[in-house]
Structure formats: structure tokens, C-alpha cells
């Protein structure tokens, strides 16, 4: 039960994790046990879609940790997500083996196409799942650490920091677009066959990935909640509200920022690694600055500095996106823009803030009832 201790007093988080648990049980059952024709059947397509939303939710939690609690508006978290995704994609590429179009047992198709004689050094080791998993955590983590160390030590804050995070992801996008980088250029990495020996096309693997995403989200949520509830979390909020003051009472603000920022980037990397096998492709488009801005909108819509709000926001906005881009493909961006304006004007604390307000009103009414 020690694991659930951080949830004490966090009603929103309890409800969110409860719903997550329910979905994690019901969806696989409805997919596997209920026959195809039944109206209750959940298609494998839906399972994968839900799994994708869960990885987005994990990414949003990572952003909320640094934005909501530390006051760093990152417009480049998509970069860490994409790097985690690429690390997983490289593993999946190596798993294809000789089943590629050119049938080379070692080299991925795009390298054969580019006439590369051998595997570049940075592709070595990615045939091992443990090594790829390590890189999923390490690559975004090290990049975030170095970036954070330089930026926070020089006391770059506010809008300037947001702009350089944006520049970071843009620079990575341009780099990954180049064929010479060795990551498949424009097309990225795709045509994956299996993961850990299980075919990516099978329903069971899809459900496994869906459950892994749900588990990762739950654990990351608990970890973030634990950090936020610790004294370090209170120092983080202190930095958000009065950075100079925090420095004068003796906290090394730059180190606190680097630590939490790096942890957040690692979470984003894990989200990316779970995302790639479910959608079946990773390309430089994931580094696009627009993606990073969109995910800040998820958090804003859900409610900043609540963590569970980020989960709600990510799922609501992405469900809306799936719906709108199917029903009215041209209108999606207008809907997104409109949503952001609406939330800023009418729900400054997001959906989570709305819940809180409703609860307070109900409690107020109950109290009034008692006195009457």
C-alpha cells in the first residue's frame, strides 16, 4: 500500500487511476472475449487508439510536472518524446532482420538503399531489447541534463527558455530529416514486424502494449505525485512562484530545476517508446515544434498543476482530434484554436479546475443545507 501513499488527498488522481484500472480490465475483455459482431466488441483498432492516447497522457503528465509545478514552459518536450520513440524504433528496425524488402540480415532497408556498407556505430546494440530500453531513458535524459545544466545555470527563464526549447526540437527535426544522419531521413523508421518475438499485428501484442502504456502511465503518475508531495516538490513550487527568494533561503535553484527537468524528459522518452510500436512509425515530424505546442495545449485544457488534469486534457483533446479530423478534416485546426481560446477565457484552470469548482459549490450547498 506504500505505493499508493502519494494519492492521499488527491481525489482527482484517485478517480483517474480508478478509471484507468477499469479501462485496463474492461477493454481487453471486450476485445478478446466478446465476438466481432457483438455491439459491445471493442475493435483492435480502438485498443491501439486508446493505447496511443495513454502514451500522450504520459507525455502530458511529464509536461505538467515541469510547467505546472516548476514554472518552466517547455515548448520542446516533443523532442524527448521523439528521441525515446527513435530509440524504440531502432530496436524494432533491427528486429525486422532479413524480412525487409532488400532482405539484408543486418542493415535496415534505407541503409541498403543508400548503399551503406555496414551498420553505423550508433546502431550497434539496438538488436538487444535491454540496450534499446536503456537508450530510451538515457538519450532523452542526457540531452535534458546537458541542456538544463547550461540553461538553468545561466539563469535563462521565462519566454527565453521556452524559445530555446522550441529551437532545440526544431534543430533536431532538421537534423533527423537528413539522410546522412542515419535515421531514415524523411521517411523515418517503419514497417516494423515484431517486438520481443511477438508479432505487432496480433491482437494479443496490441493489448499487451495497451496494458504496458496503462501501467507506465499509472507508475509515472504515482512517481510525479510523490515528487510533488515531497519537500522537493514544495521547493519546486516555491521556485515557480518566487525564484529569487528560494535562492536566498539557500536552495540551489539550478540543480533542483535540472533534476526535475531531466526526470520529466525521461518520462517523455518512455512515452515515445510506447507510442512507436503502437502507431508503427516514427519520423522527424514528431520533432515538429507544432507538436510540442499542441501538447502544452492538452495540459492547459486539462488544468495545469494538477497532474490528473494533464491526463484528462491529453485524452479529451486527442479524442476530439480523432473525431474532428475524421468528420471535418479542414476544421480540426480551427477547433483546436477555438478550444484554446475558450479554455483561456472561460476555464483558466482547465477541466480539472471546473471539477474543483463544482465540488466546492456542492460542498457549499451541503453546508448551507445543514445550517438551514
Amino acid at each position: 500500500m506504500g505505493l499508493l501513499k502519494p494519492l492521499r488527498g488527491d481525489t482527482g488522481g484517485q478517480v483517474m487511476l480508478g478509471v484507468l484500472l477499469l479501462v485496463a480490465i474492461v477493454v481487453p475483455v471486450l476485445n478478446l472475449a466478446v465476438p466481432d459482431g457483438n455491439p459491445l466488441h471493442v475493435s483492435t483498432y480502438t485498443v491501439t487508439l486508446l493505447g496511443k492516447y495513454l502514451t500522450y497522457a504520459l507525455l502530458a503528465v511529464a509536461v505538467d510536472l515541469v510547467w505546472g509545478y516548476l514554472g518552466i514552459l517547455s515548448l520542446g518536450h516533443g523532442a524527448f518524446f521523439a528521441l525515446g520513440g527513435y530509440a524504440m524504433g531502432m530496436y524494432l528496425m533491427r528486429q525486422i532482420g532479413d524480412r525487409g524488402v532488400y532482405g539484408d540480415p543486418i542493415l535496415p532497408d534505407f541503409m541498403v538503399f543508400l548503399n551503406w556498407p555496414e551498420l553505423p556505430w550508433f546502431w550497434q546494440g539496438f538488436d538487444q531489447f535491454w540496450y534499446a530500453s536503456l537508450m530510451v531513458v538515457l538519450v532523452p535524459g542526457v540531452l535534458a541534463f546537458v541542456f538544463g545544466w547550461l540553461a538553468f545555470r545561466s539563469r535563462v527563464t521565462g519566454v527565453y527558455l521556452s524559445i530555446i526549447t522550441q529551437a532545440l526540437t526544431y534543430a533536431l527535426m532538421l537534423a533527423f530529416f537528413r539522410n546522412e544522419m542515419g535515421f531514415g531521413g524523411n521517411n523515418g523508421l517503419t514497417d516494423f514486424k515484431d517486438i520481443l518475438g511477438f508479432s505487432l499485428q496480433s491482437d494479443a501484442t496490441r493489448i499487451g502494449l495497451f496494458l504496458a502504456s496503462a501501467l507506465a502511465l499509472a507508475l509515472a503518475y504515482l512517481a510525479c505525485r510523490w515528487i510533488v508531495g515531497s519537500r522537493l516538490g514544495r521547493v519546486a513550487v516555491a521556485i515557480r512562484d518566487a525564484e529569487a527568494r528560494t535562492r536566498f533561503i539557500g536552495y540551489r535553484v539550478d540543480r533542483v530545476k535540472v533534476a526535475i527537468w531531466t526526470f520529466s524528459a525521461v518520462l517523455a522518452g518512455i512515452a515515445g517508446a510506447l507510442y512507436v510500436p503502437q502507431v508503427g512509425i516514427i519520423n522527424p515530424g514528431e520533432f515538429s515544434p507544432l507538436n510540442s505546442i499542441e501538447l502544452v495545449i492538452w495540459v492547459a485544457v486539462g488544468g495545469r498543476a494538477t497532474l490528473y488534469g494533464a491526463v484528462i486534457g491529453a485524452i479529451v483533446v486527442n479524442y476530439g482530434k480523432s473525431y474532428f479530423s475524421g468528420a471535418f478534416p479542414e476544421a480540426w485546426l480551427f477547433a483546436l484554436g477555438g478550444l484554446f481560446v475558450f479554455v483561456t477565457l472561460f476555464l483558466p484552470q482547465g477541466i480539472a479546475g471546473l471539477f474543483r469548482q463544482l465540488r466546492r459549490r456542492r460542498n457549499g450547498a451541503a453546508a448551507a443545507g445543514v445550517t438551514a
Binding site: R231, R234, D241, A242, F248, Y251, R255
Partner: protein, 300 residues
């Protein structure tokens, strides 16, 4: 003629040689210097190992300090000393350099020239803000700055002296004595019944008190208190005076204040700053009767 010429050539050669080798010599000297075992180097010093030495009396030495902002000399050849255990008041008109002086002591602003020492050995100009806080200099700001989204209790908890490194902070738990200390300070600053209220919802005077409480939690050796009674009622002012006086002896306190009645009620020694340097120093009566002070400040 030829002898003289030879001498000239020899001179040139020697000079040339000396010139040639001077770079290497310097490097060698630097190297030798770095091998000395009786010296500790700045980059090797851990803040925790720094020892405060007040054996000569003063806890704070400010000497020949200069700082200017865009040509405006905010601090002009300032010399200022504070004795250990002393309660000192600093007065001066707006722009006299009071806040700038505090900024320099706490590491927020770097001076153009001069020296600032804490005790005889600790060079404050080489330390960062958190390091200065760690060695025992606490500051209350002119505009009360408390953490608005934290409760009063949490504000005090965060300010509490202790290991403030990242991982220690992540696993930190309050123990009994620490809780008692927070409770004690809550009592001193009269906010016990508000302990679990958000600091942002306190009145201006209460925020001032909370900030003083945060200073107490830090348990600093030197307290820099910028305008502690701004926005306070007379009663609150009296209590603040009492509190500051009770700190005297155990802590050294520097109070910057505009309110002359308040200064009169607490000060033993007063320093008057004017245009970035010390105009007069002494007891309140001495200072008040100083014709220069009367002219620039009190006589207004």
C-alpha cells in the same frame, strides 16, 4: 667604442633572454604556487568548511565598495563594518544605496570594485546566493516575498536551516524537534492559528511577520532586514521592535528603515547613508545633531 658596443649587445641579449623566458618563468611560478601545501584554493573550498572568524570584532567588513548602474554611482567608496552581535540601523533617503548594499552582501549584485568579507576570512564576492544563505546570512526583502501558494507552516518548513541539496530535499521528513521549532517560531510571529492558511491570503503586516519568521527558521548569524515595519500598525511595530531587540547578542542584525520613530526605539548605533557612502555614524542623538545629516536627511 667596440667594448661599449659589446656591452650593448650583451645587454640586449640578456634582456632578450629575460624576455624570452619570462612567460615560462611565470608559468613555473604559478605551478610552484599551486603545489604549495599551506594554501587552500578557492575552487577547492567547500562552503561547509568555511569557518566564520570574528575574533577581531566585526562580522561584516565592507571596504572601498563601488558599484554603478549606467553611470549612476549607487555605491561610492563605501566603508561599513558591523560588529558581531550588534543591532545596527541604516537610514538614508531613497537612492542612498541601502538596498544595493544588501544586494551586494547577499550576492544578488556584483560590485565594480571593493571587498566584502563575512568575518575575516570569507570573501562573499566569491559565493553565490544559496552559498551565502548557507554560511549564515539571511535577508528579509523590502517588499514582503513569501511563497503565496504554500501554507504558513510550509513557508517556515522550506526556510528551515538544514541540508538543502536536491536528493536530501526529496527524501526530507520533519522530525520532532523540527516540528517544535516551527511551532515555536509560529508562536513568536503570532501566526499559530493561521499555520495552515495559504500565505498569499495573509495581510501585509502578517506577511512581514512571516518573512521575519522565515529568517528565524534559517537561523542566520547575520540578518539583513529591509524595511520590516512598512505597512504595520503601531502595535505590530512595537512587537517587531521587541523581536529584533531580542535577537541582539546571539545574531547580528542590520535593519534598513525609513520610520524614524521605529529606528529611535531600537537603535544603539545608526549609520546614515547618502549618495552611496557613509555620511555619519554613531548613536541616534549624535547622528541627529550632526549638521550634515540634518541638512540632507532629517531636516527635510
Amino acid at each position: 667604442m667596440s667594448a661599449g658596443g659589446d656591452k650593448g649587445v650583451r645587454d640586449l641579449l640578456q634582456r632578450g633572454r629575460a624576455f624570452d623566458f619570462s612567460g615560462q618563468q611565470q608559468a613555473w611560478l604559478q605551478f610552484k604556487e599551486s603545489m604549495r601545501r599551506d594554501r587552500t584554493f578557492d575552487f577547492m573550498v567547500n562552503v561547509k568548511d568555511l569557518k566564520l572568524d570574528v575574533s577581531h570584532g566585526p562580522i561584516l567588513y565592507i571596504e572601498d565598495l563601488n558599484v554603478s548602474f549606467d553611470g549612476f554611482k549607487a555605491i561610492n567608496n563605501l566603508n561599513f563594518y558591523v560588529d558581531a552581535g550588534e543591532l545596527r540601523c541604516v537610514i538614508g533617503a531613497n537612492g542612498a544605496g541601502k538596498t544595493t548594499m544588501m544586494d551586494i552582501i547577499t550576492g544578488k549584485t556584483r560590485p565594480d570594485s571593493g571587498s566584502v568579507f563575512f568575518g575575516q576570512q570569507i570573501d562573499l564576492l566569491k559565493l553565490s546566493e544559496p552559498e551565502i544563505a548557507e554560511i549564515g546570512i539571511g535577508r528579509k526583502f523590502q517588499k514582503p516575498t513569501v511563497f503565496e501558494h504554500h501554507s504558513v507552516f510550509e513557508n517556515l518548513e522550506l526556510a528551515m536551516a538544514g541540508d538543502k541539496r536536491v536528493f536530501r530535499t526529496l527524501f526530507a521528513k520533519l522530525n520532532g524537534p523540527q516540528r517544535d521549532r516551527i511551532d515555536e517560531v509560529l508562536g513568536i510571529i503570532g501566526l499559530r492559528e493561521h499555520a495552515h492558511r495559504d500565505a498569499g491570503s495573509l495581510s501585509h503586516g502578517q506577511k512581514q511577520w512571516l518573512e521575519i519568521g522565515m529568517l528565524l527558521m534559517q537561523d542566520p548569524l547575520l540578518l539583513l532586514v529591509d524595511e520590516p515595519v512598512a505597512g504595520m500598525t503601531h502595535q505590530e511595530m512595537d512587537r517587531t521592535a521587541e523581536l529584533l531587540l531580542s535577537l541582539q547578542g546571539k545574531h547580528s542584525v542590520v535593519v534598513v528603515e525609513h520610520d524614524m520613530d521605529f529606528v529611535r526605539s531600537i537603535a544603539n548605533r545608526v549609520t546614515v547613508l547618502h549618495q552611496g557612502s557613509v555620511l555619519a555614524e554613531g548613536s541616534m542623538e549624535q547622528v541627529q545633531n550632526d549638521p550634515r545629516v540634518v541638512e540632507v536627511y532629517l531636516g527635510e
